[in-house]
């Protein structure tokens, strides 16, 4: 594949590009699903293509194609040059990239069992079994189970001399039951929502998740939610964990710390950020026990790789340290704008057809000293435990948010009293993180995948992980209702 890359390098060098690169990507995706005893979804997909990026006269151009021939590489490279020349007609300053050594390397996601060697029929057997076990109650109107596997093989060459080959692998699965009774519709998923748990692992993840072993409990909870009381309204303590806390981290810290957003480059679509650069090193983002660390080397992390799509080697750094805003997600274009001599390496593209943009890395809430989940509940006078995200919304500067969860439990005087349905909470980001008074210890620390993070125009999807232990937030507005 690097032979095709040299064709692009020749074109870009001959046009005296400041910088240029080509990424050839071969992607294999297998998505399988069942619903109510029938096949819900089945697609085994393979794509191959390349994208050429050029910085010429300080302005960017990018073009891509799914036709991998030398002639097409040449045509697309010249189109990228033409686009860069058009970009140069509307610029105020020349783009200058943060320096990065030229790397020659091969990197691969570690795994035990290659999911693409596991027969499809075996995967379907597991899914149909989970589906069957969820449909024992007539109130379950929809039972569904799914698996998804992605292998992305990349070849990245830059005019600076980097030649990086990477093979990134992820696996994911879930099962989900929807119970309906009159005006009530309640859903419950295992192990979490939004397509389930996805991690940079092989089929061993599916074995560990054991969907059939959790299917009956999942369905039983969906049915129980139909008769559960509504989540009470008011201000009380919130205990959250799992993929809900992961999404809280993702939306209110991850996106807020993307430097392109902070500098206004996403203003037209996803929005900007309240965490502006003059706050770096000073702004109290959360209570002193809040430490959020970005880490492209985290084992199992969906954003874990040897290098990002700027060709920057994987790093680990604080976004929030002891409650203070301490860093950003950066690419090579914007890192110099905040005085960094090197990008943190958080620039990625969705497949071959998209330009690399600043992305959330794996971003995790470090464990605290509150012991186990049981210890946390015991020390809570009145609060709600919320699990598994159901709905999410946050304003365009990442301040005002509202989340809804699948299930809640009311805690009174240190004990879990009862299940509640339709739990929701609202908050303002720094106030919310400032109210964090307890984080469980390392024994409860788990990694959760976000496999569908959308950003950019044209729209791109990226994957990352957020690890955390259960945490408690004081005086949160819960039980938000429509009028």
């Amino acid at each position: 594949m690097f032979g095709f890359c040299e064709e692009a390098m020749d074109v870009l060098s001959s046009r005296r590009a400041d910088f240029g690169d080509i990424r050839i990507v071969r992607n294999r995706t297998q998505a399988l699903g069942v619903r109510n005893g029938g096949t819900g979804n089945v697609d085994d997909s393979e794509t191959l293509g390349f994208g050429v990026r050029v910085l010429l006269g300080g302005a960017w151009g990018f073009a891509s194609s799914g036709l991998l021939t030398r002639a097409e590489v040449r045509r697309v490279s010249l189109l990228a040059v033409k686009i860069a020349r058009a970009s140069a007609t509307l610029m105020e300053r020349r783009v200058k990239l943060a320096p990065e050594p030229a790397w020659r390397d091969l990197w691969q996601t570690p795994f035990i069992k290659d999911p693409f060697t596991v027969p499809v029929e075996k995967k379907f057997r597991t899914l149909f079994e989970a589906d069957r076990l969820m449909r024992r109650d007539r109130r379950i109107k929809s039972a569904a189970a799914s698996m998804r596997f992605v292998r992305e093989h990349q070849w990245h060459a830059t005019t600076e001399g980097s030649r990086i080959e990477q093979v990134l692998l992820s696996s994911g699965a879930d099962c989900r039951a929807t119970a309906v009774d009159g005006a009530q519709v309640q859903e419950r998923g295992y192990p979490c929502s939004h397509g389930g748990q996805t991690l940079a692992m092989g089929y061993e993840l599916i074995d560990q998740l054991d969907l059939p072993g959790h299917a009956e409990k999942t369905a039983a909870e969906a049915v129980a939610l139909l008769k559960a009381p509504d989540c009470p309204s008011g201000e009380m303590d919130l205990i959250t964990y799992g993929n809900q806390l992961a999404l809280q981290i993702h939306e209110s810290v991850g996106h807020a710390s993307e430097l392109d957003r902070v500098l206004g480059y996403e203003e037209s679509y996803a929005g900007s950020s309240f965490a502006t650069t003059e706050k770096l090193g000073k702004f109290r983002y959360g209570s002193p026990i809040v430490n959020l660390v970005a880490d492209a080397t985290l084992p199992g992390g969906l954003a874990t790789a040897g290098y990002d799509d700027d060709g920057v080697k994987a790093q680990r750094w604080h976004i929030v340290k002891d409650g203070i805003l301490s860093g950003y997600m950066t690419n090579r274009e914007f890192a110099p704008r905040i005085g960094l001599g090197r990008s943190q390496g958080s620039c990625r593209a969705d497949g071959f057809a998209n330009i690399p943009i600043t992305r959330i890395c794996n971003l995790s809430l470090m464990p605290g000293s509150a012991g186990s989940m049981d210890d946390l509940v015991r020390s809570t006078k009145r609060g709600i435990i919320m699990e598994n995200n159901k709905s999410w919304s946050i304003d365009q500067r990442r301040l005002n948010f509202q989340f809804g969860c699948e299930i809640g439990w009311l805690v009174e005087n240190g004990k879990v009293k009862k299940m509640v349905r339709n739990p929701t909470y609202q908050g303002i980001t720094p106030r919310f993180w400032g109210s964090c008074d307890a984080i469980c210890g390392p024994g409860e620390w788990r990694l959760w995948g976000v496999a569908n993070c959308g950003k950019g125009q044209p729209g791109q999807t990226a994957m990352m992980c957020h690890a955390s232990s259960p945490a408690r937030f004081r005086g949160v507005k819960v039980g938000v209702k429509a009028g």
């Binding site: 799914g66 929807t178 929005g271």
Partner: protein, 443 residues
């Protein structure tokens, strides 16, 4: 564009006696993105994607690829056929359908000049706006986009349906200090886009919203511009007007067809054939799309179906299939809300105290049965007092049932706007009483 008919024939030859269906999409697209008064991203993409569904004796498997050359295609078909043999047999599994006549698409959906616009065209449009913004102490953000695509659905039982269209989109966010304004226009024909008009609308709103003030959350009369109405209709459509959700009892219309659920001024139609939100005249099994009146003067009349949900419901398919098999069921993708007899200006004039909303941001569904949603206001939120816009407001979060809101309609505008996103929609502006804002934000 790839020669799609020839490619389909090759796939059917490779499939042999197995029933095979091909969904093929080819496109060429370009997007120039600007931020802070400069071009920030500038991209072009050429793509082809082929997805093949094999069915045989109650078994199904799908394989997809983007390489249409001999070896890659043959490998994909071989792999798909091998996997097909190992699938579980399903009773009642539908094979790809026999052909049915598909009407012509609306002719205005393809404009040859729009497909081939140069990067310099898009850069000039961005530069024109940046000049205006600099002169007014503003910053601009947005996109200039154009492209062309062809969609073909074919099977080896004789279905062959193909549709091509072009698109152009111009989207502008203008900022002046803390004031934001937004305007956007979509058209199949780039020459029909009023670039100057979009610029003027976005800049005017930004200038008018420079010093936003807070108002307490609570219930207000709202005047929603079409983009905000479209956001609500989108959720009503995907969560409640598809056959699968309706059959499962998850839809607001489940068990309620024939009943008045919304205000009598609300009529919603899905029309891919001739309406303002027209698109491909066939669904993703190649079946003809029908015009379906979903809500008629507030009364729930129908939901859309594919062959699978139609069979379960005992009604004919309306031609709204997504790729089969799927879990989510059929979806309305060409929604049109009938106009009213008012205008945005008249709605403002008739309002003693209310809030004018330009767009919503980051909306999401909370409860499907009432289509309860949450989201933020964005890009220009204004207080209306005694028939006039008096102040710019800081943004608010709403938590509101769409069914209830569409029951509290006081006026709809004659003018409608066309939007392209998750499907296509054409909607008016709307005035609604007792709209619930649940909290505020700091800007």
């Amino acid at each position: 564009m790839t020669d799609q008919k020839k490619l389909c024939a090759e796939i059917f030859r490779l499939a042999g006696r197995v029933r095979a269906e091909v969904i093929m999409e080819s496109s060429e697209s370009a997007l120039t993105r600007f931020a802070d008064n400069v071009i920030s991203q500038n991209v072009a993409e050429t793509s082809t994607r082929v997805s093949i569904r094999f069915t045989d004796k109650g078994r199904v498997f799908r394989t997809s690829l983007n390489q249409t050359g001999g070896a890659a295609l043959a490998d994909a078909v071989r792999r798909g056929l091998a996997a097909l043999k190992l699938q579980k047999k399903e009773k009642g599994l539908l094979s790809p359908p026999a052909p049915r006549p598909v009407g012509p698409a609306a002719a205005r959906l393809y404009a040859p000049g729009t497909a081939s616009l140069e990067p310099s065209f898009r850069a000039e449009k961005a530069a024109d706006l940046a000049r205006l913004c600099r002169a007014r102490g503003m910053k601009c953000y947005g996109t200039v986009e154009n492209g062309a695509s062809r969609l073909t659905v074919a099977n080896n039982s004789g279905v062959f349906a193909s549709h091509r269209e072009t698109w152009a989109l111009y989207s502008v966010t203008a900022r002046k200090g803390e004031g934001y304004g937004w305007a956007e226009q979509y058209s199949p024909d780039a020459s029909k886009i009023d670039y100057a008009g979009v610029n003027a609308r976005a800049m005017e709103k930004a200038a008018a919203s420079v010093r936003p003030v807070p108002v307490p959350p609570g219930k207000y009369t709202v005047i929603l511009e079409p983009a905000a109405v479209g956001d609500m209709l989108l959720f009503l459509g995907y969560s409640g007007l598809g056959g699968r959700a309706w059959l499962d009892g998850r839809s607001f219309a489940s068990g309620a067809l024939g009943k008045r659920l919304l205000h009598p001024s609300i009529t919603v139609t899905d029309d891919a054939l001739a309406g303002p939100a027209a698109g491909a005249p066939f669904d993703l099994e190649g079946m003809p799309r029908k015009r379906v009146v979903l809500i008629d003067k507030g009364v729930a009349r129908a939901v859309v179906h594919d062959r699978r949900t139609a069979a379960e419901a005992g009604v004919p398919s309306t031609g709204h299939s997504l790729p089969q098999p799927n879990s989510c069921g059929p979806m309305p993708l060409n929604l049109e809300m009938a106009p009213g007899d008012s205008s945005l200006e008249e709605m403002i004039r008739s309002t003693r105290r209310g809030i004018l909303v330009t767009t919503f941001h980051y909306t999401n569904l909370l409860r499907p049965k009432t289509v309860e949603m949450t989201g933020m206001t964005r890009n220009g939120t204004f207080l209306v007092e005694n028939g006039r816009v008096t102040k710019a407001l800081r943004n608010l979060r709403f938590t509101q049932s769409v069914v209830e809101a569409f029951g509290n309609v006081e006026a709809l505008s004659r003018e409608r706007e066309l939007m392209n996103g998750w499907g296509r929609m054409c909607v008016p502006a709307m005035k609604i009483r007792d709209f619930n804002f649940s909290s505020a934000t700091g800007f």
